[in-house]
């Protein structure tokens, strides 16, 4: 297996900690991200997938746990200088291309903001040239540099968001539902662009989404979250062909496909957490069922899951 780029160890993100309205948005989640791969993270709204992404990039300070990037803990106290070098390595593309671009700034300044902060360009001419280069990378052109965000369509704005993330030449990009707000035909354009960029620049992605068919298309591995917990983590094909956790099965059965014959026979499963019927003292953890395929379950369940997945093969 490839080299680990990022290790997430027992990450916890609690809001309003200790108060009656405490929310355990991310509750003891561990996984690795390998260099050059795309890890998809799916789940319903409120399951903590975006919070996981935002905690990894330090938009929130983690309540507990570690995010180890290239051997260094991201959440350790750091000098300003260390933080700056770290920030260059990791960038984020946001969900809403309408809200994530400053309406009062020109595209040139939006994209160059990272360049300025990190001192990557020496003079205004070089700055402009670099921005134009980035615009061309994402399929826009020179004329777009002097416009404002409102002059662009949704797909174009998302391209701007991608150009901004690429400006500081990151290694790792967290894409938080980058295509949810876009039309189907435009979604395909943006997903293709992300894939091309990944091949060209060797990027690693954490791709957060609730559109499962797109996630399967872009991801190498997929993690499924439910109420702050990671419940299943598997190679993309494996997850779709052999979903083991009942929540994953319910999620997959809810996706409508563009195929009327399939739709007429699709039966939706619903997930009831009480099916597990866990006893006190039972240790519930991520267990490897088949190579690379992890499920959040008890020791007893893991045995029966192993049997099930063997019989499916």
């Amino acid at each position: 297996m490839a080299e680990k780029l990022l290790e997430i160890r027992n990450l916890k993100q609690y809001f309003n900690q200790g108060k009656p309205n405490e929310v355990r948005a991310v509750d003891d989640v561990s996984f690795d991200i390998y260099k050059g791969e795309t890890l998809g993270l799916v789940g319903e709204s409120g399951c903590g997938k975006s919070t996981t992404g935002r905690t990894i990039i330090r938009l929130y300070n983690a309540t507990d746990g570690q995010v180890i990037y290239d051997g260094v803990d991201v959440h350790d106290k750091k000098s300003k200088k260390d933080l700056k070098t770290f920030n260059r390595k990791m960038q984020m593309i946001f969900q809403d291309p309408y809200a994530s671009l400053n309406p009062r700034m020109k595209v040139l300044d939006i994209i160059a903001e990272g360049l300025d902060i990190h001192g990557l360009v020496k003079n205004p001419k070089e700055r402009k040239e670099r921005v134009v280069e980035l615009l061309e990378t994402v399929g826009l052109n020179r004329e777009h540099a002097d416009r404002y965000a409102h002059e662009f369509s949704g797909g174009q704005r998302q391209r701007l968001g991608i150009a901004r993330a690429l400006a500081v030449e990151p290694e790792f990009i967290i894409a938080d539902e980058p295509i949810s707000a876009l039309d189907v035909s435009i979604q395909a354009q943006v997903v293709n662009l992300l894939k091309e960029l990944q091949e060209e620049k060797g990027l690693t992605y954490l791709f957060i989404a609730h559109d499962l068919s797109m996630v399967k298309y872009i991801s190498d591995r997929i993690g499924v979250m439910y109420f702050g917990k990671l419940v299943e983590l598997a190679p993309a094909e494996d997850l779709y062909n052999n979903p083991l956790h009942p929540y994953t099965q319910s999620l997959l059965s809810a996706i409508p496909l563009p195929d009327p014959n399939y739709e007429r026979t699709r039966v939706r499963k619903s997930y009831d957490p009480s099916v597990h019927n866990y006893q006190d003292g039972e240790e519930i953890a991520m267990r490897e069922i088949t190579p690379g395929h992890f499920v959040f379950c008890s020791e007893k369940e893991s045995e029966s899951l192993k049997a099930i997945s063997n019989s499916r093969l």
Binding site: S153, L251, A254, P256, P258
Partner: protein
Amino acid sequence: MEKILEVKDLELSFHTFAGEVKAIRGVNFDLLKGETLAIVGESGSGKSVTTKAIMRLLPESSSEFKNGQILFNGKDLTKLTDKEMQKIRGKDISMIFQDPMTSLNPTMTIGNQIMEPILKHRKVSKSEARKVAVDLLRLVGLPKPEARIKQYPHQFSGGQRQRIVIAIALACNPQILIADEPTTALDVTIQAQILELMKDLQKKIDTSIIFITHDLGVVANVADRVAVMYGGKIVEIGTVDEIFYNPQHPYTWGLLSSMPSLDTAEEKLYAIPGTPPDLLSPPKGDAFALRSDYALKIDLEEAPPFFKVSDTHYAATWLLHPDAPQVEPPLAIVERMKKYPGSRYYEGTKGGSY
């Protein structure tokens, strides 16, 4: 089946500072009683404008009916006065809006919002209206309706709010329900619940539904018939099977190919190149020609008429003209056609799934 709504040669323009935007350029369709018609197309194709025109919700200061009729029970909705239209809107024809977060009034309790159309259109007392509202909330599957009726929209989740919006739309047992991307803002699990709810309700009260969406999976799930819109026109219309398994228009091919299906192998996703046409100065030929790999010379000269594929299936593309060259659709589309009896790629029942 009985036609409940007929849209004939509808043309509508917006007057803007930049000039006249020809948003709808000759749209024709019928809506039958009890059916679900899905309208698909990308942003700016005119699908929302068409339905807002039916509801007469477009600003009169800037929009103009240029031509055509919208016949509902024999009445032309484009000719009605505002007063007459108010009697129909929310009663006979009602609408579910896209964004449940913004289509509810944050300063009114949801009870009052559901009671509003009931009090307006039915001759009932306030306490009876409240009873109806509670029943409606129960119908759409909201738990503890008696208590929740006193709450405000911010106290509900997105899926619950969409249920409330549906309850308001159903308050007067409408004959036509227009749903403008009712599930786009929701999660797959909530989406599945809402779609099931709408189908159940349709069975119970026999409403006709116009369903606007760009999610083709949802279309395959809910629709009886599908109209594909592009550049202010319907380019293809047919039953759901005809559109998904025997599409004829290159734009429909593009739409269907750009969705990754869960069983396709790794390959580059098909993306329709270019951008939608500028309706300030619409192209004179086929509006899709410039983005299409299948464009013929005539596509740039003259807009194609509707060619009949079957009694229920029509497509506006010159490719169906008897003199047109035979073209090979994209691979993903040929795969779909193989499953459909009546398409030229049909492979019979061998290896079929049914």
